[in-house]
């Protein structure tokens, strides 16, 4: 990542989730796209307001599960039929009903691991540093009881003074400038 400097964006702090959602919806309607909301618990309406509707976690989970199940079933078949066939009272070496149980478990195992770690990867986590951690009020509020809207400097509409005045119209607790 190239070293960045200057302003990351303007961060407005709100007291209630309702205020945040109204502000985010208006900003999105006014054409803002490089924006994000930060909340202490999932606020679905805020995600809708900034136009984030779908994610790829279910797809990753499906792929992970199918691959896990197929891998275990093929491994069992290969071991029992080719690598180490055991004649147990004349039963067929390819006794597929017995193979279903471990394959079922591995479907769940790899689907679950894909869901969890795929989600982290899609979120770009772990990311131990982020410019927002520089904001003085972010640490006390974002993971406790405050609701934040950040309009980012990468948006073409961004201008420090004009955007600050724009955010002030939503009557936030405060608007702070966040540096990289």
């Amino acid at each position: 990542m190239p070293a960045r400097e200057g302003t990351y964006g303007l961060l407005a702090e709100f007291e209630t989730p309702g205020d945040l959602v109204r502000a985010a919806r208006k900003a999105h309607e006014d054409g803002w796209r490089r924006m994000d909301c930060y909340t202490p618990y999932p606020v679905e309406e805020a995600a809708e307001a900034i136009g984030f509707h779908r994610n790829k976690v279910p797809l990753l989970t499906l792929i992970g599960g199918l691959m896990g199940g197929a891998a275990m079933f093929l491994l069992e078949t290969w071991i029992s039929v080719i690598a180490y066939p055991i004649n147990a009272a004349g039963r067929p070496t390819y006794s597929w009903p017995a193979f279903i149980v471990p394959a079922y478990e591995w479907t769940i195992l790899w689907a679950g691991l894909s869901a969890a770690f795929g989600m982290l990867a899609l979120c770009g986590l772990p990311a131990l540093y982020h410019p927002l951690f520089n904001a003085p009020n972010f640490r006390d509020g974002a993971t406790t009881d405050k609701f934040f809207l950040c309009l980012e400097a990468l948006d073409p509409k961004f201008d420090v003074t004009a955007t600050r005045a724009y955010l002030e119209t939503f009557k936030p607790n405060s608007v702070v400038e966040v540096d990289y």
Binding site: C37, Y38, E44, N55, I108, G112, A116, T143, T144
Partner: protein
């Protein structure tokens, strides 16, 4: 009606629904955060914690001693013999893993059913699952006699080109239990990430900030992240639900696939799963009641939780009762000589006392008393009840394992079973180890999911501006 007859509404009952409240009224985002964070980030660990920690640590040490002696001498130090080759190790394995099941039920199945009361108790129930599964997984490994060769259970390409036998339920167990342990840990950890971020942000000391900062992987509460997080949580819950049902089913296959009378029955999978949930909820109560008292969490773990858990125990208790009834019925209806004898031997044979302990602890005492709401919300009663049920569930596994094995088809193969002091030391040792791990969890990690509790508060509702002004 005189004015004095009009009672002020009970603040614990929600007037809109007539139900007990899940969270005490008057809590805010900040107050519940402070309440939970303070338990972890306090510089003053309560003396009581150290007291129990020492006792539990003593138990964990006893487990280490028992295992060291076992590794030096071999499984002969236990009471296992022919024909009872399974003994305490398998009884404890099944008992512990059953206890774990309630954690997954609370965190996964109740999440899918949108039972929001589960939020307060889900985190420590999941922690209970993980430590119970750790205790459980220990037993089959040390029961193999050569635990240092435990990796032979895995399909790894060894130099002697021997591969595992996938047609055996014991092999299925390896995959069921290892998957269950992995998914439980992942689900627990992912659920904790936002709360670890709260701890990171509220910690004062540098060490705590680094510790929770690393564990929280830089979580910052972006709604884009939250939405993917919620999807992943739901998917994990959806995956953990069939998983938890399959785990005890597979464990019951260890018994049901064998031809032994008393084991070879199709009722085992559902009856094992119900029993697992029954004992697991009992263990959640055993942990939750002292915890909420000790840490003053009555506002978050309320009477409603105790009431609901009592109801779940009542239902699963009746499923278990059906299982016992069906076993008795089938021993007669199958017209199978050996089945009938096995049942007679269980109830009236040499070890008949254990069957009646199980019937009284699992059926008679809980299923007659748990109907009464006043008792379900009485903490002393529920605590004693939870211990009774777990005693009963332990005896259930004892009866299944021991009475069937001691009376095989041929009287010449009959035997008896008596546990040794090393059996007891190992079992009590795992109880100590479990408590030891649980106390560490309570001290260093958020035991109540703050982000999920916040969603239950009235302030979390998004209302139109007009309605908000009217509040």
């Amino acid at each position: 009606m005189a004015t004095k007859d009009i009672k002020p509404p009970d603040q614990w009952v929600n007037p809109a629904t007539g139900e007990y409240r899940v969270i005490a009224p008057g809590q805010t985002f900040r107050s519940i955060t402070e309440k939970i964070v303070r338990i972890v980030l306090t510089p003053h660990t309560p003396m009581g914690w150290f007291g129990i920690f020492t006792v539990a640590g003593g138990g964990a040490v006893m487990l280490m001693v028992a295992m060291t002696w076992l590794f030096l001498k071999g499984v002969g130090i236990w009471g296992i013999t022919q024909p009872v080759a399974w003994g305490f190790a398998i009884i404890n394995f099944v008992w512990w893993i059953g206890i774990g099941h309630a954690g997954t039920l609370i965190s996964a199945i109740l999440l899918l059913f949108k039972q929001s009361w589960r939020n307060s108790i889900s985190r420590f129930a999941e922690a209970m699952t993980i430590f119970a599964v750790a205790c459980a997984a220990l037993f089959p490994v040390i029961h193999t006699g050569r635990p240092w060769l435990g990796y032979w259970l895995l399909p790894l390409p060894y130099t002697m080109t021997v591969w595992p036998q996938f047609r055996s339920p014991l092999m299925w167990d390896v995959f069921a239990v290892s998957t269950y342990a992995t998914i439980s840990v992942v689900f627990w950890y992912i659920g904790m990430v936002p709360d670890l971020a709260t701890l990171r942000d509220r910690a004062q000391s540098k060490i705590a900030q680094y510790f929770y900062g690393l564990l929280s992987v830089g979580w910052r509460g972006s709604v884009r992240h939250w939405m993917q997080y919620e999807t992943a949580s739901l998917l994990l819950a959806g995956l953990a639900t069939p998983l938890v049902l399959s785990v005890h089913t597979v464990i019951s296959f260890d018994f049901a696939v064998a031809v032994l009378p008393g084991w070879h029955t199709t009722i085992f999978p559902p009856y094992f799963v119900a029993g697992a949930i029954y004992s697991g909820f009992a263990m959640v109560l055993t942990l939750a009641i002292p915890l909420r008292k000790f840490y003053h969490l009555e506002a978050l773990v309320t009477d409603r939780h105790m009431d609901n858990m009592g109801k779940v125990m009542l239902v699963t208790g009746f499923i278990v009762a059906y299982g016992y009834g069906m076993e008795a019925f089938m021993s007669w209806y199958s017209a199978d000589h050996w089945e009938a004898f096995t049942f007679w031997n269980r109830a009236f044979g040499l070890m008949g006392w254990s069957y009646w302990v199980l019937i009284s602890c699992n059926l008679v005492i809980p299923l007659t008393t748990l109907w009464v709401r006043k008792w379900r919300t009485n903490m002393t009663f529920m605590f004693i009840m939870s211990v009774i049920v777990n005693t009963g569930m332990w005896f259930e596994r004892f009866v299944i394992v021991v009475t069937s094995l001691t009376r095989d088809f041929l009287p010449s193969a009959w035997g008896t079973y008596r546990a040794t002091k090393w059996d007891y030391a190992t079992f009590i040792g795992t109880l100590g180890f479990f408590t030891f791990m649980f106390l560490l969890f309570v001290r260093f990690l958020p035991m109540i999911p703050m982000n999920e509790i916040r969603m239950l508060l009235p302030g979390a509702k998004i209302k139109p501006k007009v309605a908000e002004a009217a509040d």
